[in-house]
Symmetry: C2
Subunit: 322 residues, 2 copies
């Protein structure tokens, strides 16, 4: 009989989940809307039911060992999601307790970026590394930092919030209420903001001048940059300068062996990697130069949130049975 | 028969060492000049001989379990000191190997700031804490960061270099060859630099205008600030703003329970603590507000380098016998 863990990735719109074995192979997957229920209890009822159905649909009735959940603002220590601005319920949600009541299985929870880091370590490009980090570049910027094989949760459970390092005091307003956070510059949102500023400050022609934000947020800017649009290229250069410096500063603290980029923006590939690597190296202290690989996540085209959540469950099972 | 470890603190001018028990009690101490020998081998001969003499002078002939060494640019993994600008020999010095040959004892080595962090954890204010950091404010700025009870060495062994985080791109030239490093602003050197800039840019009277740098570097500026000198007070405020922001950014990464300030500048006490705490809190992300204690090291008036080096030896002995 095979043994599987369930990985759950809670996004603002949809919740996706899968039964995943120890090698990262997905045996079955499903999804429910995150926004379908009025209360968090109702949502957990739906999720538990959907997981039971998923299990029943797998031939040979595998044993489910545990459930891992990745969610924005997830707190590993408390098993809660706290004040997540993109979720329909914004108080402190005791998700681990609610799911444990419904499934009678061990439930583990962490934030989505930490889950991605754990998944990269178990199933991706960070296999065998003990010091590395994963940076997720999407609407915002998330990070999961691993030191000596352990995710850095810190005393609060919220460690690894690179997106909210202040890189420009008094700079762009951030959703967190402060100004100048890294994610206002180094994210899809930041890239679009920078591009708009550059185009608005210039009279030169650009095919991007009248493109709607929605398209720019997709692959619009990277396509234009690849086609040579100078505003798009300059925006990638600015983003990389800011991100490269922030990464160099983080290297001075945790000295990772590798940094993996993940998320929608990482799909820009060398357009992002080359200048970010260049700016990071230029800002590294001598002893750290040429010691850090900057690469794309090996899970870039899969659902790393789901894989990471399952990896968390596998890791916790291993730790508890050790 | 009592059991002791030797802690060695290698400074640019003097090397101090002591035989220290598991409770942090110093049973005997000694010192030799760091600059007295022409070669590093000669220096190690002198140090080994001095340690043997120290042991013989302790009543009851205690058992010496191990030697811990704290040194600038010390590398924990390799047991080397690499290109330390303040030491007379600037290549890669295999200090652990050299001392092992001479003493036939386990020898452990780390940089001085990491040693201070280990000492704070074993003998000082961080007893029982698993996530904390120690920031040493002297001529430069050193830091030792502890995550889940382990010093963050990273993949290179040089992790925890908060002093070389770039806080002002293109700013003040640093000894490391780059510009704008935190230690150019938040250190005794940085404080004197800021004060000079402020006085030179003003015609207003200040008792500090013609005070030689040497005196300012001592307690000159803090004495003047306590007496109400506006330039001195403004210089402490600037330093605290820079340090407070850098600490807030570090909290976003490692989320420590407490940060302990150490070194000559920390002796300024509330003059430094109050504004640094204020600026740190103002720059913290909501989830980290009021979660971090900022305090003075409990080892401020002792030789924390020596205690820390001995603490390293004790910790390694414990780890190896576990």
């Amino acid at each position: 009989m095979s043994r599987l863990c369930i990985g759950v990735d809670i996004g603002g719109t949809n919740t996706v989940f899968a039964a995943i074995d120890k090698d990262g192979k997905v045996h079955a997957e499903g999804h429910i809307p995150t926004v379908g229920a009025e209360t968090v209890e109702g949502y957990c009822d739906q999720l538990a039911e959907a997981i039971r159905e998923l299990r029943q649909g797998i031939p040979g009735q595998p044993e489910i060992l545990a459930v891992g959940i990745g969610a924005p603002n997830g707190n590993y220590y408390k098993g809660t999601v706290e004040f997540a601005p993109n979720l329909p319920w914004t108080q402190v949600l005791p998700l681990c307790d609610l799911m444990k009541e419904r499934l009678s299985l061990p439930i583990h929870l962490t934030n989505d970026a930490n889950a991605a880091a754990i998944g990269e370590g178990l199933f991706g490009a960070a296999k065998g590394l003990s010091d590395y980090m994963v940076v997720t570049l999407g609407t915002g910027l998330g990070s999961g930092i691993v030191v000596q094989g352990q995710v850095v949760y810190g005393s609060t459970g919220f460690g690894g919030e690179l997106g909210h390092v202040i890189v420009e005091p008094g700079g762009r307003a951030c959703g967190c209420g402060r100004k100048g956070c890294l994610e206002r510059y180094a994210s899809v949102t930041g890239l679009v903001h920078t591009l708009r500023e550059k185009i608005d400050a210039s009279d030169e022609p650009s095919g991007l001048r009248f493109v709607p934000a929605k398209e720019l947020e997709g692959s619009g800017i990277s396509d234009a940059a690849k086609a040579g649009d100078k505003f798009a290229l300059a925006s990638f250069e600015d983003l990389s300068a800011t991100l490269g410096l922030a990464l160099a500063n983080t290297v001075a603290i945790t000295s990772p062996e590798a940094i993996f980029l993940f998320g929608g923006l990482a799909k820009a590939g060398d357009l992002l990697l080359e200048p970010t690597r260049r700016h990071m190296e230029a800002n590294l202290l001598d002893v750290f130069k040429d010691t850090v690989r900057l690469e794309l996540s090996a899970l870039l085209n899969s659902n790393a949130g789901m894989l990471g959540a399952a990896a968390l469950a596998w890791k916790e099972q291993e730790r508890l049975s050790a």
